[in-house]
Structure formats: structure tokens, C-alpha cells
Symmetry: C2
């Protein structure tokens, strides 16, 4: 098995234990890959009931594996897929770590776009290819291998509880329902999650925030059927035009949200956090090349990483009305619909924000048409950390030793609603460090994970768990 | 054959010739229906090339029929379907009438919704059922029967030119292209068109205006693919949100059009015309019951019939972006599209309006996304008449004698672009009087035309042609 060529953990590191973890990885890599591949061969697609059995077998395999490496493991049943629960009792009075991951994966279609079979892992040019290779089986597995290593060396002083759920890719409903009932089982000091990504290979990234989420589907209508746009244009209100006006009412000309009270709970961020967020951000040119358009959306007086990390947004995810075929059709559409989501930050209360948003839409909906809320959902609150946090500072010191580039800090714009819930139930401080890269193509055909990133994850987990064991 | 029961032409009319026309109709009705049914049995669906032969046979049947009733008739070829051209030479110095109609019909699907075969005309409860029974074979045929009657009685002093085209239902492209070349053939004083409707049975309606039309399809995009609305929300502009804002920029809060210069050529209408338009308009309650929504669209300071008759509009006919399936999808859509049409009035120049609209959209398109005009089309200018017009006053006197209810005047919101073009080429004043009703279900299954309306059309044509022969 070839040793990953880049980037190596610094060999000049002052920490002697890191050198020994590197040595262990080099010795054990081929076994790690073999076991990781075994885990990847399970078709644990959670969104399709046809794979329910496969999901359970995956969970059972994990229980067996965890038992073998020194955990007391079992399944916790939910109304949906079972959750793998495992405990390692550390020294009395030592820190308690809760690790969250998931063993379920995305569907594989279009299957014909895969170079190798999605559930027959294949190593090519330093990457392991399979569905779940990274998300989240791969990132979970380096963590398990680190735990195994520390337990085998009797170096794990912390108590560790593992929660590996089986429906992250389809909404976590059963898991989220069951979680409060497991409160006593999951009490911890630190919540470690590796289901996040890095913006560059070989560089450790700490995810400092996740945004909250509320969603909403609305319609404007009430007209019996599409009308002739000549005969009735100017007579009745046009649902498409009015929906556009309603959506336009959500933002001010400077790009800020016009919903009354929406910023009430939004706090300013520190100069240090702001500097950290801006430091890890790619140039405008790089973004334009990547996406096709420049990063000029959102609020005018914040930089792009500030806007995504520290500011709420309201986005239209879908909008539909009237005729879409070739040519034209001179109608006033009978109805217009929009799907909206809002990302929330820091202390914003999701229930309150959803109510403010609905109140705004109701207040701005035009007379003469029927306004309806078709669906609404509170996805969860935001998770916001500061670089001033003591746990983050400890992680930073550890991560800075891993390679030539110091740790980077990123306030992600996305949402993992379950993380905020886990923080609440467990009472733990969260630490989100993951080594996924854009090129891993998670959720797409030919998902893979670089061995070099797997190795870095292993080293991070070994080093951080050692740090917490002190 | 049963005599139509309602509404009868007033038997107390002072005009003795009207009584004789009524007598002729009663005598000849069954023959008229037989011949009209023969015309309806041709499957002259112009939009489907499979029926090209049927269209030509229809046109040839009309040439034969017109020749029989006293016209010199022939086909004029176009790049598409042939046009039936027929002339009757009246007295030297008498008025010259140009009549425009069309012999092509709409497709018949869904065929299973028809009670009787669409091309096997069937008389049921005072209505003749067939595709084209009204639009426009029926309304053309009562006019031909009136011409036949007057010629047979040697009472037709006017010269009459007939132009019956074969592609009105599919855009009139070939006809419109050929028309300027027929300029010398179609010079006239009065252009009579019966391809319009009435808002109540038994009541003559004069269509006083048709709106012009320009159309436009636009997109906002430039993003390579749909983006994660969390990771990039607030970073790039959202095409759906921005399209909504762009569309919202087209109108002011009071419902008026915000495009600079759009009203420059719009003239105010006379108090008389305004009163006439308002008089023939149904109540708000009636409209709400019919359409599902109240007539509160368009410009705040005009009544519904004023808004549709005398004021331009910009309507969204279709709008599309992002995800439309069940549930949600947290994306920033890569592109958003809209189909727009604008109805124009009176003296508005369509080319100028289209340019103003495009200029407005370009000026208001957001930076950071790609704005594209995908398609644009000038449909034609408006046609606007006033009740002060001498021809309209003559028609009004004639129509007032036809029944118990005086003639009504309606400024239609729709567009028949070819009429404005015919006016331009022929130099004639237009007179649009038709007897179609909403219940005729033109363009839909089970199209029909009431014999009572056919009879009223016949009487109108006899009386008006007699009036013009004086």
C-alpha cells in the first residue's frame, strides 16, 4: 500500500506522541483500509425502504466491530432505523466525549455514471472510491481507528460515548424523536463531530458555526383557471406578478432582510472571528471561476464569508407559475407558488423567525388573491462558536501541530440541525473538525475519500483525544 | 326547424326592410343550416400539417359557394394556407366593404370530451354543435348568407371584397406576409369583421378596441449549476429572488407600469366612451363568482373595463426557477426564467414599447448574474375606436333597431393583430361586430353556436350592408 504523498504531518513536530501515531498509521494502513472497505460494502441507503435490512446489518456490523475494539456496544431502536450506541468508560473524573456520526448513505443513481461499483470499494490513485467512502462512513471510521489505537495503548483516559445514527441522509426524524429519551446516556463535556469539510487538502479546518433553518412553501391564487391575459389583464391581479412582488418585499435594496424584527436576535461577531472567517476564504476570482458568478449577493456591508457565517438569509429555492413550454401562452396563471428557506445565525429563535416571516408575507400579500401557507417547518437553530472558546483554543493548539499550515476556521453557511439538538441534550461543547473535500463528490456518483485526508483525520482524532485525556 | 325563441328582433321596428329580412331568415333557415353544416364538415385544422389538404378543400368549397351566390372568387396563395378572395362589384361611387374572416379551426382534442363528432354537425336545443360552429365558420357564414340575400334581391349597392384566411388559429404568418402585396385588391372604405363576441345573448355588441401585443422571454442566470443554499446563501445572488425583484420593478405600488416613458403615447378617452365601456360591464360580484377573485388588479384609479379597454398592462404569463417537486430542496437555483406579454392601447408604438421594456429590464437587472433576452416579438399595435366615429354612429343606429336592448360598446382587452394590419393596408375604417358568446366554448370540446345568435348576425349583416348601400 502506497504511503500518501501529500501533505505529511510535520516530522519536526515537538510532540513525540504524534510521531508514534504516524508510525502506527503507516504500519496499520492496509488493515484500516480493509476494514473500512468492509463497512463500505453495506448498502445502507436510508431513504429507500428496500434497504432497511442492509441498514440494520450495517449497524450490527458496527456493534460487533466496536465490541472487538473495546467498547460496550448495542443498538438503540428508534421509530425508524436503529442507532449504534457504544460506551468506553475512562478514568473517573476525566472528560466525557460524545462522538456523533452516521452509517447511512445517499442513493447511488445514476449508477451508470460510476467508474467502479458503488458498494465494491476500489482504491485508485490514493483515493478509496465507494458510496459513503467519505460521507460519513470514512470520517467515522478514522475516528474509530483512533479510538482503537488509544485503547490498545491504554492511553484513552476520557470516557467516550458513540452515537452513530442511520437516517441522517433522510432527515433524522426517528433519531431526533428518540434523542431526548436518551438524555442520561449521552451526557458529555465535549461533542466531537467529523461530518464536516475542509477547504483545502492537508489543512485542518474547524467548523465554527452552522446556520439554523426554517422552511416555507406558499401559494398565491384563488382564480378558478388560467385566464386570457388580454381579456382580463388589468382586471384581476396576476398571481405570478404578485408573487414576484411579495418575494421582492423580503429584501431591502442593500440586500438586507426587510422582515420586521428579523435581526433583533442577531449579534455582532468579534474582530478576531471576523478576521479568521475572512482569512480562510478564497478570492473573488476563484469563486467566480468555480460558480460562474461573482460573490456579490446578500448584505452590502459584509464580506462574503461574513455574510454566510454570521448573517441570516432568506432564499427562494423554487418558484413556479403559468406556462413553461416553448413559445408563449397569453394567460394570467391561476396560481403561483414559491418554496423558501431561511438560514438563521447565533441566537435567532427558529420558531420566532418562522412566525415573523409568515407575518410579513401575510401583511404584504395582495388583496384580491388567496394567500396560502402550504407547508412550514422548523429545521433547527444555529450553532455558533467563537475562537475565544476554551475548547476551540485547545483544538487549535492540537491542529496547529498536524502539518505545515495552521488550523483554519470556517463559519459554514449550511445546517446540521441535529448538532444543535445534540448540544442541547448532552450539555456538551461542540467541536466540529472534518477532512472532507469538495472533490470527494459526496451525494454524487464516484464518491471517494483521499487516504491522505483519512490519515490526517486519524492523526487529529488521536491527538485531540490524547489532549482531552490529559 | 324550430324558430329560435329568444330574443326576437322587435316586431315594432320602424324599418320595413328588417321585417322582410326576418321573413327571409324564417323561410331559409333550414337551408342555411344545411349549407353551414356542409362547411363545418371540413376538418380545416390549420395547426396540424396532416390537415393541409382539408384546409385547401375547405377554401375550394368556399370559392365554389361564393361563385354560386354571385361573387367572382378565387384562391390567393401564400407561403402557408391559401386565402379565399372574392369580389362583388357594386354601384360606381358606392362604399367599398372589405370583410375579413377565417375558415380554419382549432384542433379537437380531447376528442373523448365531445358529445357528438366535431366534424359531424349536430343540432341540439337550438344550438349547432361542431368545431368551428362559431369560430369563425359560423360567424362568416351568416355574413355570406346576408350577402347572398341582398345580391338576390339586387339590394347590394356597395362593392364587397372578401378575404377568408386559413391560418388565423396558428398565427396568420403566411397571410400577414402576403397581405401588403394584395394592397390594390383590398382597398376599401369599411372593414367588417365578425370574429368577436358579445357579453349577453340577443344583445348587439360593438368591439371598439383591441389591444396591441408585445412579448418577451427573459432569464437570469450564469451560475454553473444549482448551489447549496446554506453554503452559498448570502454569498451569490439568487436568480429566483432577483427575477422576482426584477418583475416587481415593472409596476408601482398603485398598479401602474413603472417603465419610463411607457405612458407617453397613451391618450385619455372621452367621457362618452368611458361611460359606454362601464355600462356594458358586469358587477364585481358577478366577476368574482365567475373567476374566483374580485376585479381589483391593474391601476388603482381606473374601473375594471377602463383598465382593460384603455390602459396598457404588463403581465407575467409564466415564471420558473429551481425545485418544484414535493417537499423542499435547499438550493440556490442556477437560473430563473419569465415569459412576459404587454398589452398596448391606442397610439402606443409596439416597437417603441418593446424597446422601453427591454431597456427597463436591462437597467434593473442585478449585477452578479447574467441577464438574457431569450425571445421577443412584436405582435401588433392596438386598434382604438371612439363612439364619436361616424361609421360607429351609423352602426349604432342600425344595431339599435335589431332588438329590445340597444347596442353595447366594449373595449376588448385582447388582441387580433391582423385587424390593425388590415386597416393599415386597406385604408378602411374598421367595424367589429360579432355575436359569439362565452358559452359557445370556442377552442374547447363541444363548440357550438346558438341559432338565435346566428340569426341576429344575419339580420345585422343584412341591415348594415343595406345601410352602407344607401
Amino acid at each position: 500500500m502506497a504511503t500518501p504523498s501529500k501533505p505529511q504531518a510535520s516530522s519536526t513536530t515537538a510532540d513525540p506522541s504524534l510521531s508514534s501515531f504516524i508510525g502506527i498509521y503507516e504500519q496499520e494502513e492496509s488493515r484500516f483500509i480493509r476494514e473500512w472497505s468492509e463497512l463500505l460494502s453495506f448498502k445502507s441507503i436510508s431513504t429507500d425502504p428496500a434497504f432497511d435490512g442492509e441498514c440494520r446489518r450495517t449497524a450490527e456490523w458496527l456493534v460487533g466491530h466496536l465490541t472487538k475494539i473495546g467498547f460496550s456496544a448495542r443498538l438503540l431502536e428508534t421509530s425508524s432505523k436503529p442507532t449504534v450506541f457504544a460506551e468506553f468508560k475512562g478514568k473517573v473524573g476525566a472528560k466525557r466525549v460524545l462522538f456523533y456520526g452516521h452509517y447511512d448513505v445517499q442513493p447511488v443513481d445514476p449508477l451508470e455514471d460510476w467508474t467502479s461499483e458503488p458498494f465494491s470499494p476500489e482504491l485508485r490513485e490514493g483515493r478509496l472510491y465507494a458510496r459513503g467512502a467519505q460521507d460519513n462512513k470514512g470520517q467515522t471510521f478514522y475516528f474509530l481507528k483512533a479510538l482503537e489505537t488509544l485503547i490498545a495503548r491504554s492511553e484513552l483516559a476520557t470516557s467516550v460515548t458513540l452515537l452513530l445514527e442511520g437516517e441522517e441522509e433522510c432527515g433524522s426524524d426517528g433519531f431526533a424523536q428518540a434523542l431526548p429519551g436518551w438524555k442520561d446516556l449521552v451526557q458529555a463535556d465535549v461533542l466531537m463531530v467529523c461530518d464536516t469539510g475542509a477547504l483545502a487538502a492537508g489543512v485542518p479546518f474547524v467548523t465554527m458555526g452552522l446556520r439554523g433553518l426554517v422552511s416555507l412553501e406558499i401559494t398565491l391564487g384563488g382564480i378558478h383557471h388560467d385566464l386570457h391575459s388580454g381579456a382580463l389583464g388589468g382586471v384581476v391581479r396576476n398571481p405570478a406578478t404578485e408573487l414576484a412582488r411579495l418575494i421582492a418585499s423580503l429584501h431591502r435594496p442593500d440586500g438586507s432582510i426587510a422582515v420586521s424584527g428579523y435581526y433583533d436576535e442577531v449579534t455582532e461577531f468579534s474582530a478576531e472571528d471576523r478576521a479568521l472567517a475572512n482569512r480562510s476564504w478564497p478570492s473573488d476570482d476563484k469563486i467566480t471561476a468555480l460558480l460562474g458568478v461573482p460573490p456579490v449577493g446578500g448584505e452590502r456591508f459584509y464580506s462574503p464569508p461574513e455574510r454566510r457565517g454570521f448573517r441570516p438569509t432568506i432564499e427562494v429555492n423554487g418558484m413556479y407559475s403559468g406556462y413553461q413550454g416553448p413559445g408563449g401562452k397569453t394567460i394570467i396563471p391561476s396560481v403561483a407558488t414559491a418554496k423558501l428557506t431561511s438560514r438563521l445565525v447565533a441566537r435567532q429563535n427558529p420558531e420566532r423567525c418562522l412566525k415573523l416571516l409568515i407575518d410579513h408575507l401575510k401583511a404584504h400579500a395582495p388583496e384580491g388573491l388567496e394567500f396560502k401557507i402550504v407547508a412550514s417547518r422548523v429545521g433547527g437553530p444555529a450553532l455558533a462558536l467563537s475562537s475565544a472558546d476554551e475548547l476551540i483554543q485547545r483544538a487549535r493548539r492540537v491542529l496547529d501541530t498536524l502539518g505545515p499550515v495552521p488550523a483554519q476556521f470556517t463559519w459554514e453557511g449550511g445546517s446540521i440541525p441535529i448538532v444543535a439538538e445534540l448540544v442541547k441534550v448532552s450539555g456538551a461543547r461542540p467541536l466540529l473538525v472534518g477532512f472532507g473535500l469538495e472533490e470527494d463528490r459526496i451525494h454524487a456518483p464516484n464518491e471517494s475519500f483521499a487516504l491522505s485526508q483519512f490519515r490526517l483525520g486519524f492523526l487529529y482524532a488521536c491527538a485531540m483525544l490524547s489532549e482531552l485525556s490529559r
